[in-house]
């Protein structure tokens, strides 16, 4: 019981913390990036890594706390606006569709399994993926 209360408090403190971390597959992703490069990737403007490998974007769904933080902090959009944004890009073929997840574990697993994949999460819990410092900082300094 005490453990459960502790975990709940821990989770709530994490979400209130609103920190975001860029994580990537060990293969095909750079060891660090500038924020502008990250933003260009997440906005669908850059679709391939410098080595030519296709960039796979993994995001938390906008109805999750991390998703909401991602929408507001990185995209400066609401969840609905983010959906519409990606719908427009995918519909017009301007960008490959990102993959949205309900849980960060699934997201981390996806990133770990797909070379060239990059994702935004709250805090990595596995070593199967690497944390990509942005402008030399982790988490993102927004």
């Amino acid at each position: 019981m005490l453990t459960a209360v502790f975990l709940l408090f821990f989770q709530l403190s994490k979400s209130q913390d609103n920190s975001l971390v860029a994580v990537g597959n060990h293969t095909g992703t750079p060891s660090e990036m500038k924020y502008s490069e990250l933003k260009a990737i997440l906005m669908g403007e850059t679709q391939r890594w410098k080595n030519g490998k296709r960039i796979l974007i993994a995001l938390m769904k906008p109805n999750t706390p991390t998703g909401q933080t991602t929408s507001s902090r990185i995209y400066d959009m609401s969840g609905d606006e983010l959906n519409k944004f990606w719908l427009a890009l995918v519909f017009q073929g301007k960008a490959a569709a990102p993959t949205f997840f309900n849980s960060e574990t699934e997201l981390e697993h996806f990133v770990a399994q797909n070379p060239g994949a990059i994702g935004i999460i709250d805090e990595p819990v596995t070593n199967d993926i690497k944390v990509i410092p942005i402008d030399g900082k982790t988490p993102l300094n927004l």
């Binding site: 719908l87 427009a88 073929g93 490959a96 569709a97 949205f100």
Partner: protein
């Protein structure tokens, strides 16, 4: 308008080709186009629905692979004109009291296209809509595809149809030529042969080139010509025989006519013979007067000579007056005898055929007496009452008197014969008693508007029903052989008809017979 067989064949083939061309060039391509359009619409509607479903999933589940896949499928289709997301948005009034639902194009692929949200299918383009709905956004997927492929397919079908029609036309021409050769040529040959046959040339035969109906027709035609030739030869032969028979019949007819003339003359002479006794009686009467008055005059002349010698001149003058009176009577009766003889000669002469004005009453009376006295001369015991009732107004009518006299004589002779026979039958009957029977022959005339009616009636045996319709036939007689030629009534009938008149009979067997003659006045 009459079309030749060849023209009809060509018209038939041409009509078939035209109909086929219509179907291949217009009907079938139109049907094909409709079918293609139907399938095309269904396919596009499915595409629009698929994209709309993908959009719904993307907006609700943030699962964009569906949209990506569907759009990939659409974008790769070369028929695509554009695809748009039409968003249904709520437009509030300024006071926020009312709102309208407005459609606006959210995004379009390719971006160069800017369609109106209410665009409809038109020339060369098909528009399909697939509805989607999500809490974020609702609206339609607007899918616009070109009908170019369908038009090209239709054009291709038409092109193929045109080629097929050309081939069919070529086949039609060949078929027409074949039919013309197989049907028209033999039929025309038959026609030409038939024409020559109708002109009398039976040597015509048609060449048989096939075993079908046309060939059978030609064979039948040739057989018919052969039969016709045989029939014509037989006909010619029969005709010759008929001509010979006809010549013989003409000879026979001439002989018959000659015989008829002789018979008529014989009948005339027979009636003349019957007249002779009557005429003799008629002449005897005035001759008696002449002889008697001559004898009286001879005696008176002797007396007058004696009185002259005596000088008794008054008596001489009286005797001379008597002689004069007797001489007048002699002259009168002499002229009467002369008239009778002239009448007999008149009767025996062949008819002149010229009508002359004749006193019909006098003619009837003369022949009545001649007939009666003729019979009396043969049979002194015969007596009959002669009754006449002549209409004085009957007067003079234009007739051939010899011919009408002959009619009267025949009818009077028959009448007297009938009463004589009846009297004889009554005398020879078991009763042997004449009773009150008095043989009577009655003749009357009567004038009406334009004709004169003569009735000759006797109270003799009458005419039986069985023979009534035969009495005018030549050579028909009820008299014993040698007593009648059977030509009397026949000639009488012809004479009355030749005068434009009519003869009828009214009779009751055993009681009377009455002949009624109507002559134009």
């Amino acid at each position: 308008m009459v079309f030749s067989l060849k023209t009809r064949i060509w018209l038939t083939v041409f009509s078939i080709v035209i109909m086929f061309t219509f179907f291949t060039l217009y009907y079938f391509p139109a049907q094909e186009r409709q079918l293609l359009l139907k399938n095309y619409n269904t396919e596009l509607q499915n595409l629009a629905n698929t994209v709309a479903f993908g959009v719904s999933i993307a907006l609700i589940e943030q699962h964009f692979e569906g949209v990506e896949t569907a759009m990939q499928f659409v974008k790769d289709d070369p028929r695509l004109q554009f695809v748009s997301i039409v968003e249904l948005d709520t437009a509030w009034s300024e006071d926020r009291q009312h709102y309208n639902l407005e459609k606006k194009v959210f995004k379009t692929f390719p971006e160069t296209e800017h369609p109106r949200p209410d665009i409809k299918s038109g020339s060369g383009i098909v528009i399909k809509r697939g509805a989607f709905a999500s809490p974020i956004m609702s609206g339609d997927i607007l899918l616009a595809f070109s009908t170019k492929d369908i038009n090209e397919s239709e054009a291709k079908i038409r092109h193929t149809s045109l080629i097929v029609s050309g081939i069919v036309l070529l086949i039609g021409i060949l078929l027409g030529l074949l039919l013309a050769r197989k049907v028209s040529v033999p039929v025309l040959a038959l026609r030409d042969a038939a024409r020559k046959i109708s002109e009398g040339d039976l040597s015509q035969k048609v060449k048989i080139t096939s075993a079908d109906e046309i060939g059978q027709l030609g064979k039948a035609f040739n057989e018919m010509v052969d039969d016709l030739d045989v029939a014509r030869k037989e006909l010619h032969k029969n005709n010759q025989e008929l001509s010979a028979t006809n010549a013989r019949l003409n000879n026979t007819l001439s002989e018959l006519k000659s015989t008829q003339v002789q018979l008529i003359q014989s009948e005339k002479m027979a009636s003349l013979g019957e007249l002779t006794a009557g005429i003799a009686h008629e002449i005897q009467n005035p001759l008696n007067f002449v002889n008697n008055f001559s004898d009286v005059n001879t005696e008176l002349i002797d007396e007058m000579r004696i009185e002259i010698e005596k000088g008794n001149y008054e008596e001489v003058i009286a005797i001379a007056g008597s002689i004069r009176e007797n001489q007048d009577k002699i002259t009168h009766h002499g002229k009467r005898a002369d008239g009778i003889v002239k009448g007999m000669l008149h009767h025996s002469r062949t008819s002149s055929g010229q009508k002359e004005t004749t006193d019909i009453n006098a003619l009837a009376d003369e022949y009545l007496r001649l007939s009666y006295h003729g019979l009396r001369a043969k049979d002194k015991s015969f007596n009959a009452t002669l009754k006449t009732e002549f209409d004085k107004t009957a007067g003079q009518i234009k007739i051939i008197s010899q011919d009408i006299g002959r009619v009267f004589l025949n009818l009077f002779n028959n009448a007297f014969y009938a009463v004589m026979e009846k009297k004889r039958e009554l005398e020879n009957s078991e009763m042997g008693n004449l009773g009150k029977y008095e043989p009577t022959v009655f003749v009357s005339t009567k004038r009406s508007d334009n004709q004169v009616e003569i009735r000759i009636k006797d109270n003799g045996r009458g005419i039986s029903e069985k023979v009534l319709d035969k009495i005018y036939q030549p050579f028909f007689t009820t008299k014993p052989t040698g007593q009648g030629t059977g030509l009397g009534l026949s000639l009488s009938y012809d004479i009355i008809k030749a005068h434009g008149g009519e003869i009828k009979v009214d009779t009751k067997e055993g009681e009377y017979a009455e002949f009624i003659i109507d002559l134009p006045a």
